[in-house]
Assembly symmetry: C2
Homo-oligomer: 124 residues x 2
């Protein structure tokens, strides 16, 4: 039986608003040791994503605002989605993590290539 | 039969020297769409690693030189190492990628959680 997203995902992930300061955004990623931050509106709905790669882009091209570097068209997953469908999306879009959302686009958690590789490979 | 590192790793990865400019380092990651860059000495031996996460750290804390943010104690893999051993290292150190090295610490490639998750999960 193939696991589904809800069996692999992480639930306690921080989210930010789109007017968050760039330096604070970087600090949240560093303090939590993570690479992905979903961006939500004032009702908690997903409106974008920013990763450590986007912050590297800010450094590379001198961008100063979160709105200049965040990705607005977010590839997401749903809790009952099979893992193979998530991996196909990661491969297709060259991404390492997908926010998990409910029917109203509220963020429930995050599923990453790290979580999937740890789940599939039985440690010797 | 469990795959080994050489069956999953990527071989064409860029490397940089430790005196590389921070902005150029970020540009290489962005232009190649990758997250990890091994740092090598003038004989091609591995002396460190820098990831998009480290560049986010430079942004968060105002660091300006590669030597201030690169990690010097690098967790590596070898070509015939079984994948479960690599995943155990990723979990233990909370890292997403390992340079693959030969007996003289020369960089042969890189193995990431992305590569492993794509290999293990048969796409539906
Ligand atoms: C092409 S990927 C390559 C680097 C890295 N593997 C990663 O996932 O960020 C980097 C870009 O993908 C975007 N990205 C990451 N996860 C995403 C997702 N779930 N949906 C849409 N874009 C995403 C980031 O905002 C960034 O601009
Ligand atoms: C704790 S991880 C968390 C973020 C992300 N998962 C990653 O792999 O970069 C970030 C830190 O791990 C370091 N790192 C990444 N890969 C490494 C490796 N193979 N060996 C040693 N340190 C590594 C980076 O230099 C960075 O300082």
């Amino acid at each position: 039986r193939e696991p589904r997203v809800f069996e692999v995902m992480r639930r306690d992930i921080p989210t930010i608003r789109s007017d968050e300061d760039l330096r604070n955004t970087a600090r949240i990623l560093i303090e939590r040791g993570i690479d992905h931050l979903p961006v939500v509106d004032d009702r908690g709905r997903l409106i974008g994503i920013v990763t450590s790669w986007d912050l590297a882009r800010a450094l590379a091209y001198g961008k100063m605002r979160l709105e200049d570097i965040m990705t607005r068209h977010v590839i997401t997953a749903t809790p009952y989605e099979p893992i193979h469908s998530v991996v196909a999306k990661m491969e297709r879009y060259n991404i390492s993590g997908l926010p998990v959302v409910d029917e109203e686009n509220r963020v429930l958690g995050l599923v990453t290539a790290d979580d999937i590789s740890r789940r599939y490979v039985v440690r010797g």
